[in-house]
Subunit: 455 residues, 2 copies
């Protein structure tokens, strides 16, 4: 009996596909990484089916790769060893909303926009916003963050409980509904960010927040990237509770205007958002404006209504597409270093120099409140020289970040793209991580070849 | 060669003590749990010495128990199997303060008051405040929290990096200086809360915060515990960024006034603190006052100056001592359940009924913003009947908490006192936790008998 037939005995016939178009759709993510097709795609409907498939795969040593929306940026969902791709699009139910507990329970295939649409009815929102409309399962798997992490934290801070299918098919729960716990070991935090290599999520309980009384967005233009960054760092140092503070460099502002039809000033810019009560916001924003002026801000423009605010953040979110758009055949390589705040201005200046020295087309974007920034580098993935030059920029930025105590990936995860940096980042702790992988997945069937290097 | 002599070859002669008074001081914590002396106490000065001692202990299968200030409440530091107690009092250096990065690097023996005293010079503070002046190593080991968790999070949220000595003596670092990372597995979060059973901390990098522009404290008295709790939950639901919201019941207010010489109204009371900017605070506080009035608040009193505020929080922190004080021979058993916010009022009402039905002397205190509360129960540890009655209250509260998705311990940890509840709380995940312990500490020398039950 072949693999497809065997899987069709475990789940419904129409839940197993070997259609070439389907395999091809599951062979890639949004990055420059080389595609590879799975042998088969399975669409489970519940934890029991996931457990059955994983148990089968484990006993036959077949790789299993979980797949959400395919928006990963380091090849996480590409099944380089073939096997089974588990696509969670049929597990997309919002199971329960508990407004008083500020919690929701969702299946892993729910996307963040789907969740936010539903939460709005309760005056609530889910905070993590990586730009792409990823699934919540995928976001938990990579410990995603994005524009609001500076105020509300990263994905790991929101996950209260996980239902996880282990490599042997066992189904466990890792947490509970309490705000905090000092009971058993923190498995929840270990699974979050494990990129499908330790277990497969079949349900998530997430923290949500009340929509703030007042929201105010603003753009502030600066003479240089450094002055913009220094403004952001100073704002945080004095404890202004900024909800978003995003750097967009001049090159990226040009792309953004062209793609989104906006007419923002084409200078290094901070996109800001403040959440709070009316009176408090007035004081915070005035303070921010004064501080920006001290750093040479040439224009501070408010977006007071929801429409202007949405335009602003949509334009920001579409920036990656803005770069690729109109560059036929080009893909993006996105760097993702995160450095201590005191090192951020230096790191961003260095990044701009590196991009120019390498002769790569690219822009700089930053979640500067976290010390995390991206160089969006346009590459032709079929052109070795193109790839090499971009790869060199990437490597040099990682080198810079690791030298100052930072990380090679602030939010995208390791996938296959960052494997080569992990030994240097983690030192001997990497050996312990490998032992953890060996314990959780002794036959190495769970997203093999991702997250930890073989050396 | 005996144990003492062997250890004296690894560390300085005077760093190893078998003095009976010294052993006795390391035989107990602040709880009702039965004392037991270690065979020897070692005072390491650095990670190399810790590594040498642990390596020796591992090869000779000798238990090692780390010890900070001995303020644990579930017997964590009691060496029930004898062996070596590692007392960190000589590793009490603040290694580095990085104001711009809002980070500090400390040795595990630094206490939180010691750290805050130093941070004040930089306009910074360390947020976690469990009441006791515990060491930061101990607080990380139990994932401590306390009064400010509702705003700033628990200990795990503050630990950015750990230097850890593993059971085989290897020294690893688990994190870095970046605000966030999606690189290797989250070992930092796994070690935090592991109660010395997975590795021993020799250095911690912690997040600190700027002292807010304005701080305002208040007391609000209510006709019942329920109305106080409902006020707190409503305040959070509308997103008021409260920094502290503590419930003190009537019995505890009486003890508090008697012990601290205060003259607060002896009714169920919320102790509140607001952090923010001046304008924002005014609006928040007015809102809180109105909301409290809606719930029947009979008195809302501000503490606008630092002196009144300090008196308030000192009185709150000394409450455990207030109960023990003057009750000769009595010790405290402290329950520590944490429930979803929607279940908090019911759980606290149930707790009061249980205390009265059992005929135990006790008060109720709550970090109500987290759904976490304590019954402080006075027991004579030599009186079996006394212990049994208090133990029954404890068990019934845990039962209640677990039924509604809560936890047996919100912040004190498991130690030995909560072992019997873990199977029910974690289900099959407990087996995975045991495998993790087995992986990290194959000879079970690290704080053996704590954190996970044998079943």
């Amino acid at each position: 009996m072949n693999l497809t037939e065997a899987l069709r005995q475990l789940v419904g016939h129409e839940q197993v596909s070997v259609n070439p178009t389907m395999l091809e759709q599951h062979s890639r993510d949004e990055s420059y990484h080389r595609p590879h097709t799975p042998d088969v795609v399975v669409f489970p409907r519940n934890a029991v089916e996931v457990s059955e498939v994983v148990k089968f795969a484990n006993s036959h040593r077949i790789p299993v790769v979980p797949f959400g929306m395919g928006t990963s940026l380091e090849g996480h969902v590409i099944p380089y060893q073939g096997g089974i791709t588990l696509d969670f699009q049929r597990m997309n139910q919002i199971v329960e909303i508990r407004p008083e507990d500020q919690l929701v329970r969702v299946q892993p295939g729910v996307t963040r926009s789907q969740l936010n649409k539903e939460l709005k009815k309760y005056g609530l929102f889910f905070s993590v916003d990586p730009g792409a409309d990823a699934t919540l399962g995928g976001m938990a798997a990579t410990n995603a963050s994005g524009t609001t992490a500076v105020r509300y934290g990263v994905m790991r801070d929101q996950v209260r409980d996980l239902e996880v299918v282990l490599a042997n098919g066992q189904v466990i729960r890792t947490g509970g509904l309490a705000v905090k716990s000092s009971a058993g070991y923190n498995l929840t935090g270990l699974f979050v960010g494990s990129e499908g290599t330790l277990g497969i999520f079949t349900e998530l309980t997430l923290r949500v927040y009340g929509i703030p009384e007042s929201i105010l967005a603003a753009r502030a233009s600066f003479p240089s990237v450094e002055s913009a960054v220094r403004t952001a760092v100073s704002l945080l140092a004095v404890g202004i509770p900024i909800a978003r503070v995003e750097l967009v460099d001049r090159v990226s502002m040009e792309k953004l205007n062209r793609h989104s039809g906006t007419h923002y000033e084409e200078a290094p810019t901070l996109f800001l958002e403040f959440h709070g009560n009316e009176a408090g916001l007035q004081q915070d924003v005035q303070f921010a404006k004064d501080l920006a002026a001290d750093h040479g801000c040439s224009g501070f423009a408010f977006e007071t209504d929801a429409k202007g605010r949405n335009t602003l953040w949509e334009a920001r979110h579409n920036l990656a597409y803005a770069f690729v758009h109109g560059s036929k055949g080009k893909k993006i390589m996105v760097t993702d270093v995160c450095v201590p705040l005191s090192e951020l201005a230096g790191a961003i200046t260095y990044a701009r120099e590196q991009i120019e020295a390498a002769g790569v087309e690219g822009g700089l974007l930053g979640h500067v409140g976290d010390g995390n920034f991206h160089a969006l580098l346009l590459v032709d993935p079929t052109n070795r020289d193109d790839l090499d030059r971009a790869e060199r920029v990437n490597a040099n930025l990682v080198d810079y970040a690791l030298r100052c105590g930072g990380t090679c990936t602030g939010e995208h995860g390791v996938g296959v793209g960052k494997l080569k940096y992990l030994r240097r980042e983690h030192g001997e702790a990497l050996d312990l991580m490998r032992q953890v992988k060996q314990l959780f997945d002794p036959h190495n069937i769970l997203n093999p070849g991702k997250k930890l290097p073989i050396d």
